[in-house]
Subunit: 701 residues, 2 copies
Amino acid sequence: MTTTTGSSGLDALFRPRTIAVIGASDDPRKIGGRPIRYMLEAKTTATLYPVNPTRSEIQGLQAWPSAESIPGGIDQAIIAVPASMAEKAVADACAAKASAIVMFTGGFAEAGEEGAEAQRRIVELVRKSGARLLGPNSIGAFNTADRTFSTFATAMDRGTPEAGRIGLVSQSGAVGSYLQNLLINRGMAISKFVATGNEADIDVAECIEWMAHDPETEVIALYLEGCRNGPALLRALRVARETKTPVVVFKAGKTDAGQTAAASHTGALAGSAKVFDTALRETGALPCETLFEMVEAIYACSLGRLPKDNTVCVISVSGGFGVMLTDAAVEHGLSMPPISAETLATIQQELPLAVGLNPIDTTAQTVSDRTMLARTVERILRDRSYGSVVLFMANAGRNPHDVQVLREPLKKLREDFADVQLALCVQTIPETRAELEQLGYLIFEDPTQAIKALAAASSISHSLRNPTPAASVMECAPLQLSHNPDEAQSKEILSSAGIEFAREIVAATADEAVAAAKEIGFPVVLKVLSAQIAHKSEVGGVALGLADEEAVREAFARVTGNAAKAVPDAEIRGVTVAQMVSGGTQTIIGGHIDPTFGPIVMFGLGGIYTEVLKDTVLRTAPVTHDDAIQMIRSIKTFSILDGARGQEKADLDAIARAIVQMSQFIATHADEVESAEINPFIALPKGGFGVDSLIHLSNQH
Amino acid sequence: MTTTTGSSGLDALFRPRTIAVIGASDDPRKIGGRPIRYMLEAKTTATLYPVNPTRSEIQGLQAWPSAESIPGGIDQAIIAVPASMAEKAVADACAAKASAIVMFTGGFAEAGEEGAEAQRRIVELVRKSGARLLGPNSIGAFNTADRTFSTFATAMDRGTPEAGRIGLVSQSGAVGSYLQNLLINRGMAISKFVATGNEADIDVAECIEWMAHDPETEVIALYLEGCRNGPALLRALRVARETKTPVVVFKAGKTDAGQTAAASHTGALAGSAKVFDTALRETGALPCETLFEMVEAIYACSLGRLPKDNTVCVISVSGGFGVMLTDAAVEHGLSMPPISAETLATIQQELPLAVGLNPIDTTAQTVSDRTMLARTVERILRDRSYGSVVLFMANAGRNPHDVQVLREPLKKLREDFADVQLALCVQTIPETRAELEQLGYLIFEDPTQAIKALAAASSISHSLRNPTPAASVMECAPLQLSHNPDEAQSKEILSSAGIEFAREIVAATADEAVAAAKEIGFPVVLKVLSAQIAHKSEVGGVALGLADEEAVREAFARVTGNAAKAVPDAEIRGVTVAQMVSGGTQTIIGGHIDPTFGPIVMFGLGGIYTEVLKDTVLRTAPVTHDDAIQMIRSIKTFSILDGARGQEKADLDAIARAIVQMSQFIATHADEVESAEINPFIALPKGGFGVDSLIHLSNQH
């Protein structure tokens, strides 16, 4: 009944109608007993077939000697047998024409080479039969609407979860379960859950794509430890953006120490944290710093409404909290446009001590009649609309009377201003919290957290509504080089790729150097030219500001001599003669191949800024001109290019053109080139050009 | 019975034995009824005297016509009458010889000039009688041990709080109450609470100092909006450090927008957020970014134990969480030294799949017997000690059986390693959480939050154990200047203050300039000299690299001419002739008078670093040489001084000496000088010297 090609092959994983549990146990606490117990307790809509050749009945259900013996075949087989019996069980599942196999059994790739070999055999078996495999070493998957709980997660001991709208995709069963509990504790409910375990077949990317199309899933929570196929992950995240499904991500392994720990845990390459973050953001997914932050961001997206922009209006019953919320809004990039003085005057007719145009401090006057708060919000939203409104109500939510009085006005407010995200910052008791959420209000306790979550939601909203068009890779002939090119060759290659360089002539002798200097015009710069010497100034291979013929002649002898002395076996082709550049701002434009996500382009200010401040920005390559402009504007030291200290502004378009060309270069030659760098690229008030460059091939080390 | 001098005058505020409530109400919901209701409900140890001339009995107690009529006098009077009757009530309290007056009544300084005038009259009245005043416009104070609740805070509607160890000092009643609830929700309990309201007499500083000596208060939570007397606040915080009392602070008004909102709320100057942060940290107090962060930091200090250092060992039942905790530890400055391979081998005898030296991943093997976790921690702590240990136990805390089994082993662990802060990262139900806390374990849900709180506690612990000795201000004759000094005079003044400058000669004519250049040695720099021209290069008033007599002569005419043209009414004294400096690193050393905290010294890298990156560090002046070295090391771009890019390291002692002298200069001349700056101060591999400087007097604008 389910197709097994593409992501539709996951239907049998998430919406099975018939499930065989191979290795079924009568003991409801054993891993072969738990899924049966959970589904019986939850009154699953699927038909369950316990498979156990030694018993006739399991947990009150008829037991079957094998999956193959079940009449009519099955959609899904759960494998809950020891590792030694796993291959046989998989063969049985395939024979029963299972479309999806959920494999709890561990002891495979995660346990060493022997296990990896067994895992490869199982995958081969599954592939042949056309089935799809979750795991091995997975705690399973579940669907709360159909109440199919193909999992042994002990998190279910608190009861199988209610149906909700959050899709949870995790590479780790433990983290997935923990996160599930955190979401439930925060009043949210899960639609689908999957922990991908060893990812021998089905990976997180496919699960994301499937959930992006699932009408029961409104937000996706994603936990990642590593990624074997970066481009597939990015494709899946882009699909989620197309279906307007927010994806909130936590990625473990941000620091070197964390990555080392991750490598010993999963064996998978954690990848560069910065590239990961960049790549996720490009697709519109939101990476979070902590699990709590993740839960709060998901919460802010969970009521079926996102802020339409990043404006926020803060209304508070206490000035101190108005200040706190304002600080937080500024720090997290929300904008606080003011209400009109006329509207404040209207508010003051009821609340004479009210002050401020945004934040608006109602003072404690509303304690006697909380409905005044709702009227204040209404007056404000009749004046102007906001992406979000935060109403700080102190401890009002602890008082059932206050909430009773506010219910109708709040309901009307929610209906009248359907396009505004309404959040209450208030201390509550669980019942009033649930009641207020039911009305469509987000409820936060901590003011800063309220703002942070609204900022996260408005950033997600922005990227769902403004998908950046992807640049297409241009056609290009391969380089076909057998050795790393030297500086002059590198420049030639990048020049052909459309990047401008300072005029430069290669000179093999002092006479040629003098002739070149005369052609270019004094003063000039001489640099030794050798494929074996990358850091020319470190070996005394550079001479600056040569004003005449004599100086050039002397410098030629000096730089080639220094270089030969420093690197005796270097093949020295001579020198490059270039115009002495003065003025402009040194930038760096680079490209490299990330092991997870492929071609990446980089931009930053050159020299000390790159080395000391690490103030660089990355994108997956290729990029569009608009992307490149955004990259330039996003470095911390952008003001230096933007005319700080009375300098002329740099020509951003010229820098952007070079970034685009570099991104095309690294993307088209991703198979041959490991990295390329223009350092410095001089940004001028009009135009810009590279001065030095280096290309490193992927087959050379 | 209480003395009213110094902070001991606060005894009657926090430990009254007899309390008169002036404006007492029989209605337990009115502000004059609430304190009586709260204290009756809580069975207060104090004797209550309701004062109300119109009634004979109030809430079952005998009512008195006036405070003065109460036989034997009173320790404390609460004033809960309308503003119009307040002065009379205060006079009555004074006549009754109240040592402390808690004034709920609002409508004073916060309500405009008329109210401010009335407030001044009240303060005069109180001062004359020798009493102390809390408020006006305060929600009051309370003591949970004595059960004296001199407050009308509605937060008590959930019941008066139990006795605990957290002292809460807040400038805002609303924020104080909200914070009180957050702390209680997190399982903590309050010892003393005070909201200082208008601070007409008693301010937060005095309350902090009193609580620092209070044996019932172990940690102080401080909420600030502004500060009228910075030095008093710092003194109080230093007293808290002396009594080893952690102080955790939230300061509202961090951003410009927040400060504007704060100004309209309190009327008080919020002050520079960066100076505030600096000054608080210097005393050992810990400023927090959010209320939640504050609550978590207090929690980490609340079990009577602080981490002895910043080392942490992470033990996790799931690799993913080990990675998360490691990332967080690195990001928050904790160190993770490894256990020995032998100890891991011992652990592996029981848990064969356990991996890692720190983090240590026990894997899910411990699910069958949770006591293995306690044994693992014990093995680790027998190997080496840590400041803190975090044990991640997933959802184990939701299962009463798991906790049952672990109680004894955890208890023993806590006793055996009394000097280690032990934290569990686990999901719990409220009962198990309370039980585990009872055993002396910190309980966290979010891994990052656990680490952040432990990092906060270890930073507090470090500063309580290592108070930095304060520098003493040197004696110094006043400057007695009537006008802002020009550059040359500024240098002369700062030279006398002990700061080295580049050799420089003032020249009034071109001939004098040439003579000076010859004396100094070519090449030289010429700068126009005029008290009216601060930014000399902007008016063309600087000439660099003058190599000979002719160049100096030409430059003299040019720079004085340019300056005269640009600033026609400037009085031009001539030029300064200085040696042309090359090499070294430009730094900036400054000092200014902060309106709240007084003399402040500043250090940073010069030029673009200061202007674009705002990479500067502040301290209250004066500083010691060690302080100055720490300042230098704490800038983000310190690596530039520390030999980045193969440069020679700068002479940090020479920079530090200049910082110390500048700090002494600004501190000794705090009454005369508004700001002073050496920019640049050139840091060399050996020595360093100022090149340019500027002093601005406080009476000049």
